[in-house]
């Protein structure tokens, strides 16, 4: 009891001293006052930001709010949060900056392991590895955050910017991620994820939804990545069979950045100039997206075939992409200058806006059509079935066999 009092008292003193130190101007104090509502602890940049901030994160009470005043905080080590329902709030993604440029320890900038955490209004700059990872949590909010690697197109940049994994009830909104050598926003092995109003640019993949079930991805802007939005399932992972991503009203344009992922990773196989693709995932709905200026392809649906990928050792893994529904998207100016593996496709340039690899499992019963990937009312978008699994033998451009409709997915509702 006494220990607890003294420690928290010390924090308050630290906060006040810090406030005076970084709050010379009246303007600052007024802003700090305006932001004070709901802050249980206010921190300012100090001589030892790691001790100050990490102590606050550890000593914080469940459900409390730690505020980080405007300024640059520097860390040589990963920050970790393990207090339930903690809120960490900065004054804005370009004002409160957590600088990890000198990081020596930890594979993330920030690592969240407790449920119900809300992070908002700050920037994670140049983390050594991933930006902010939340693993195995129920309830996590990333709001108005920025994760930025300043070194453009650098394979030495960290893999993932905002990185919830094996988590439930995930919200990522109003955030910006740039420079990730794998994926800007990466939702892995999770359920009930809502990804909206974000901007991802300058990454290998803008947004990836991997082995995740019931995600809604809407009103995001992805540009200048190698690939815009990718939905896929991978084998040999503990959480399997992701499905039902509802991806709509996104702007996916000019994702023509040269792939700078390290080889060995699946994302290193994504061709430069990819708008969206679905890989080995079922029952996803892509609709009302604007997909434009992606020089290799607009939207592609494909199986996890050994043509492109390693073999796997996972009996439960289903490599087929089935029952997807792609409708009412606006596509233009895609496929005009195909790159990487797409250069070898035996079809004239520009490549079609919509591409299905044509692979399916003939052993499965599709008499009711439920396994068919439907393409419906995508304006005047062009289409091709590559028949990749038969070495392009019956490659054609007839969209009629896959013109069909499916019931719409429901919106993801978070508690």
């Amino acid at each position: 009891m006494r220990n607890s009092n003294r420690l928290i008292g010390g924090l308050v003193m630290g906060s006040l001293l810090g406030l005076l130190a970084c709050g010379e101007s009246e303007k600052f104090i007024e802003e700090a006052c305006a932001d004070l509502a709901g802050c249980d602890v206010i921190l300012c940049p100090s001589d030892d930001d790691l001790a100050l901030v990490q102590t606050a994160f550890i000593e914080a009470e469940e459900g409390s709010t730690v505020c980080l005043a405007e300024g640059i905080y520097t860390f040589q080590s990963e920050l970790s949060i393990d207090v339930a329902n903690l809120t960490v709030r900065g004054t804005g993604m370009d004002k409160t900056i957590l600088d990890f440029g000198e990081q020596l320890v930890g594979s993330n900038g920030m690592h969240v392991t407790s449920d119900g955490v809300l992070l908002e209004g700050f920037q994670v700059l140049n983390p050594a590895g991933d930006g902010i990872r939340a693993s195995d949590v129920d309830g996590i909010v990333f709001r108005a955050l920025k994760v930025l690697w300043e070194s453009e197109g650098d394979k030495g940049n960290g893999g993932y910017g905002l990185y919830p994994v094996q988590s439930n009830h995930v919200l990522v909104e109003d955030s910006v991620v740039s420079g990730a050598s794998d994926s800007g926003i990466y939702v892995g092995q999770s359920t009930n994820a809502l990804i909206r109003n974000n901007v991802a640019h300058g990454n290998v993949a803008g947004i990836e939804i991997e082995n995740t079930t019931d995600a809604e991805v809407h009103d995001n802007h992805t540009y200048d990545n190698t690939g815009g939005i990718l939905i896929f399932n991978l084998p040999d992972l503990p959480v399997k069979d992701g499905k039902r991503a509802n991806v709509h009203h996104n702007l996916i344009e000019n994702n023509n950045r040269k792939n700078f992922a390290k080889t060995g990773n699946v994302v290193a196989l994504v061709p430069q100039g990819t708008g969206m693709f679905i890989l080995a995932s079922d029952s996803n709905e892509l609709h009302h997206n604007t997909v434009t200026g992606n020089q290799t392809l607009g939207v592609m649906v494909l199986d996890y075939t050994t043509t492109f990928f390693d073999s796997w050792d996972d009996l439960e893994f289903d490599p087929n992409a089935e029952g997807n529904f792609i409708h009412h998207n606006t596509l233009s100016g895609n496929g005009e200058d195909p790159k990487d593996v797409a250069k070898a496709l035996p079809i004239p340039v520009p490549l079609p806006d919509l591409v299905w690899d044509g692979c399916f499992d003939a052993e499965k019963d599709n008499s009711d059509g439920s396994l068919t990937n439907c393409f419906f009312e995508n304006g005047d978008a062009t289409y091709s079935n590559l028949d990749l699994c038969n070495d392009f033998a019956d490659l054609d451009f007839d969209i009629t066999p896959v013109t069909c409709e499916r019931p719409p997915l429901e919106s993801v509702v978070l508690e």
Binding site: L36, G158, G264
Partner: protein, 352 residues
């Protein structure tokens, strides 16, 4: 104007930050290590008082040349429930103590030395909680420290070269990085496979578990010695395979096991794992990010230079290195051991 605002701020902060009633009131953790009374003064000699029982492990985690001294303390009259293969059950109030120290000369581990930190794991209300104490320069006291710290350690290495290295003391959340399993924190060292080995006590070579039994550590007399698991000394004379698997258990399996933080990758490095893919043989790096380097499998039999395992053990880059947080220097012995182990595998190649 400014003053008024300042007072408003102070009042708000102070009122908002009042300590909650009852928090931590039951905890027996102290802010100074001496208050626990584990050691006979001078505390730096690490000579335990009666009831503080030393132990050693067979396959320790590499910690940048730090030498570690380990002790267990049980509440009066209580004992540990032994298991020959599974986790032990500890009574409420158990404390595990581990001190990290550096000999001035690594070639003389019993000579002059500097204690850097003492970590304790305390079992209270059914949960283990970690605390970290940092030693002062005078070596008279260690003080509880929450947020972690970088410090500098100086020593002569095995070649007699003067070394001055950065050493990282973890924050108390990071205890979970190794000791976490799903939502629990678990001890790692004190279990049968790590402690079932010979030690010298009172000038005699004895089995450590039998010796601990004679110190009244366990609730019941131990029987069935032939069924007790054991890990060989990775630097000893067991087979290459046995030593490599022991090192992997001690250095990797705390995360790379079901429920561990590395469990998301599907790689399992427990000594008991027999499935080749789970063990990493020809296993692709599904979500390793840049940690995969330019390599395609965790272990390529016969080819350490093509194996991600070696790439990551041999790195100190935070986004590549393994283990994630417990070292800033490569474990050259472990690297050589695992390289030799992979090199000795039949080079069957991996399927495309």
């Amino acid at each position: 104007m400014k003053v008024a605002l300042w007072w408003t701020l102070s009042a708000l902060l102070l009122s908002a930050c009042a300590a909650p009633e009852g928090e931590k009131s039951g905890s027996t953790v102290h802010d100074s290590l001496s208050a626990h009374g584990f050691f006979i003064p001078p505390m730096s000699a690490q000579i335990p008082v009666a009831g503080v029982i030393p132990y050693v492990v067979s396959s320790p985690l590499w910690s940048d040349h730090a030498v570690k001294e380990r002790f267990i303390v049980l509440p009066e009259g209580e004992g540990v429930v032994f298991s020959p293969t599974e986790e032990w059950e500890f009574p409420e109030g158990t404390t595990l103590i581990k001190t990290f120290l550096f000999p001035n000369d690594l070639r003389e581990p019993e000579g002059a030395r500097r204690l850097v930190e003492t970590r304790i794991l305390l079992f209270e209300e059914g949960e283990w909680k970690g605390h970290v104490y940092i030693w002062n320069a005078e070596q008279t006291e260690a003080t509880r420290h929450v947020p972690g710290q970088f410090t500098t350690v100086n020593y002569l290495d095995f070649e007699g070269t003067e070394r001055s290295e950065t050493y990282v003391i973890p924050n108390t959340n990071q205890c979970k990085n190794c000791h976490g399993n799903e939502d629990r924190v678990l001890p790692l060292g004190p279990r049968t496979r790590q402690l079932n080995r010979d030690v010298v006590r009172d000038g005699e070579v004895v089995n450590q578990l039998n010796w601990l039994m004679n110190q009244a550590l366990f609730t019941e007399p131990l029987v069935g010695e032939e069924s007790w698991e054991s890990l060989p000394d990775p630097t000893g004379d067991a087979s290459l395979d046995a030593r490599a698997r022991s090192w992997l258990e001690g250095n990797c399996a705390h995360c790379h096991k079901p429920g561990g933080d590395g469990g998301t990758s599907g790689l399992v490095l427990l000594n008991s794992e027999t499935h080749p893919t789970k063990l990493g043989i020809c296993k692709g790096p599904v979500a390793a990010g840049p940690g995969a380097g330019r390599l395609e499998q965790d272990i390529v039999p016969g080819h350490p230079e093509k194996s991600i395992l070696i790439y990551r053990i041999n790195s100190i880059d935070p986004e590549i290195k393994m283990p994630e947080i417990s070292n800033l220097l490569v474990d050259e012995m472990g690297l050589q051991l695992i390289s030799d182990w992979i090199a000795a595998m039949e080079p069957t190649g991996c399927p495309p």
